[in-house]
């Protein structure tokens, strides 16, 4: 067993699971590391085992796919070809010659270090949600759309009785229907995209009838529950003093500006808001992998430009779970062949490659349709907190840009502390880039998560080694 090549897969969402199963089925020993207590990632996030949910599928789409993935994982774990390390928060992957060391902290406390050695690494680190600021977005009761879904799927918890779901993107529909099924009244679904844009891209979208049917299914559920849906509308303010009490929603004009006089106040105790997703690329960046815009660049085999490093799923570009499965499968097959010392035959994964092409086209079409309002920065008033960690306001960032000449996110950070806090700019960087008038660029963070100084200090003296081969 131990003389077989060893692949470390980071992330147990759809991409990482597909990759793990594919690689293990083709003779590779796999260590699957994930920060959660159970496999699934964000998309297939499962209720905590202790909650003993008999019907978790009520919270999920495409449950059959999950059962196949979980079954495949269980089979390989039992056979000894896969080791699944839960509660492992990976903060750094080190490459020395042709060997890799994956450094993780054990959760949930994240103080004790652990290291895993491998011959190759497959990054399936997923993504996180982008939220653009508006007045009141820091009030308790305002959370990301994905956060509302994560709390529902993982903890079987909702924050209130009446919610508004707002922003833009394909995530809003399942979040609204999920909350509604869990007993939350959805006071409004607010989408800034223009339905006409869907018509203009109808050919590319219709090429994925399954995906369209999924969307139509959510829309039908909302209709049945009589949820008010506003398209070409945006939330302009969240109201409340100690917690959310209402939102004001307004119409957008053809240029993407708020139409004066169209605001309407909607009482609610929860606002689930999101404006799309961003990929987690920290581990790839420190490994030196080339990025294409915000995404890890990969070739047809899902290889990065760093030898021995593969990437699959949202980290290579936001495209959803079906695309992540196809990419993960291809990455796992390629890694298995390459680790066995031969070039793979792409015909072996022709079906996955075909769906990868189609789903990438579909994702590009969706991306062109779902867009935040063109003039969203106008919603950021001078006293709107933009950097949630360091409490840096819109006026401070504008002063850095207009008075002090900052033209990029890093300079704004040095002048204002925006992006210098706990989240390391993950939440505010898109807004800061918008206010600075520059493109959002990768951040080049040295570590993927906060690391105790004691761990760094002892890194060279007490390497806790697991999985060396």
């Amino acid at each position: 067993m131990t003389d077989r090549p060893h692949l470390a897969v980071i992330g147990a969402g759809p991409a990482g699971l597909a990759a793990t199963v594919a690689a293990a089925a083709h003779g590779v020993r796999v260590t699957l590391l994930d920060s959660a207590a159970a496999a699934g990632g964000q998309f297939y996030r499962q209720p905590a085992a202790e909650l003993r949910a008999r019907r978790p599928q009520a919270l999920h789409h495409d449950w059959g796919t999950w059962e196949r993935l979980r079954g495949g994982l269980d089979t390989h774990v039992k056979a000894g070809s896969v080791r699944h390390l839960t509660d492992h928060h990976v903060w750094f992957v080190e490459r020395r010659a042709d060997r890799f060391t994956v450094h993780a902290l054990l959760g949930p406390e994240q103080e004790d270090p652990v290291a895993v050695h491998a011959d190759a690494v497959l990054l399936a680190t997923g993504g996180y949600e982008k939220v653009l600021p508006f007045p009141g977005w820091t009030l308790p009761g305002v959370l990301t759309a994905g956060g509302a879904q994560a709390m529902l799927k993982g903890a079987l918890a909702v924050s209130g009785r009446t919610a508004v779901v707002a922003g833009t993107g394909p995530l809003l529909l399942p979040v609204a229907t999920g909350l509604a099924a869990a007993g939350v009244e959805i006071a409004a679904l607010v989408e800034s995209a223009d339905p006409k844009a869907f018509v203009r891209r109808s050919r590319a979208l219709a090429a994925q009838p399954g995906k369209l049917a999924e969307g139509a299914g959510y829309a039908a559920q909302l209709l049945r529950r009589r949820v008010r849906t506003f398209t070409r509308h945006t939330v302009v303010e969240a109201h409340g003093t100690e917690r959310l009490e209402a939102v004001t929603v307004a119409a957008l004009d053809g240029a993407g500006r708020v139409r004066p006089g169209t605001g309407r106040r909607i009482p609610c105790d929860t606002l689930a808001v999101g404006h799309g997703m961003l990929p987690h690329t920290d581990l790839a960046e420190t490994l030196g992998c080339r990025l294409d815009g915000m995404n890890v660049q990969v070739d047809g085999e899902q290889r990065t430009d760093v030898p021995g490093v593969w990437a699959a799923g949202e980290t290579t570009g936001i495209g959803g779970s079906a695309l992540a499965l196809a990419e993960g499968h291809i990455a796992g097959r390629s890694a298995a062949a390459r680790l066995a010392g031969h070039a793979p035959d792409p015909r072996e994964w022709a079906a996955a490659a075909k769906s990868r092409n189609r789903l990438r086209e579909f994702a590009a079409a969706l991306d062109s349709v779902y867009a935040p309002p063109a003039h969203w920065t106008e919603q950021i008033t001078d006293d709107t907190v933009v950097c949630r960690c360091e409490e840096v306001t819109g006026s401070a960032i504008r002063e850095a840009v207009t008075e002090l000449g900052a033209g990029d996110v890093r300079t704004v950070k040095l002048l204002t502390r925006a992006g210098m806090g706990w989240c390391q700019g993950r939440m505010c960087a898109p807004a800061v880039a918008g206010l600075a008038g520059c493109r959002l660029a990768p951040s080049r963070r040295p570590f993927a998560r906060p690391v105790p100084l004691g761990v760094l200090a002892h890194e060279h003296t007490h390497p806790t080694e697991r999985g060396s081969s």
Binding site: R54, A58, L143, M151, L156, V158, S159, R388, C423
Partner: protein, 100 residues
């Protein structure tokens, strides 16, 4: 009214007691700090270092660090990630969480 627990047909073992700022409240086995506090109607458990404003869950997946809370005298725990144990003492975190 439907609840998420009903929807998923969850049958957790009996609730246990934890405290929030010294007051007793109940939590279900498997619940995170954030989930138990939501169930108790609490949406904020931190005040910011600068303006002293209330914060609670924002990203829900451990990325934003807005839901920081003090559990058993350990400050800066992410409420959305940390599961509760019987008897845990949750404290609203003020500022850095270290008594200034």
């Amino acid at each position: 009214m439907t609840s998420p627990l009903d929807l998923a047909q969850a049958h957790p073992r009996p609730a246990f007691t934890v405290t929030l700022d010294g007051r007793e409240t109940e939590a279900l086995p498997g619940q995170t700090v954030a989930a138990a506090l939501w169930a108790a109607g609490v949406t904020s458990w931190r005040t910011t270092r600068g303006a002293g404003r209330p914060r609670g869950v924002f990203c829900g997946i451990g990325v934003c660090f807005d839901c920081l809370v003090t559990v058993n005298d350990r400050p800066n725990q992410r409420a959305c990630l940390v599961p509760l144990q019987p008897g845990d003492a949750i404290r609203t975190q003020e500022g850095t969480g270290h008594d200034d």
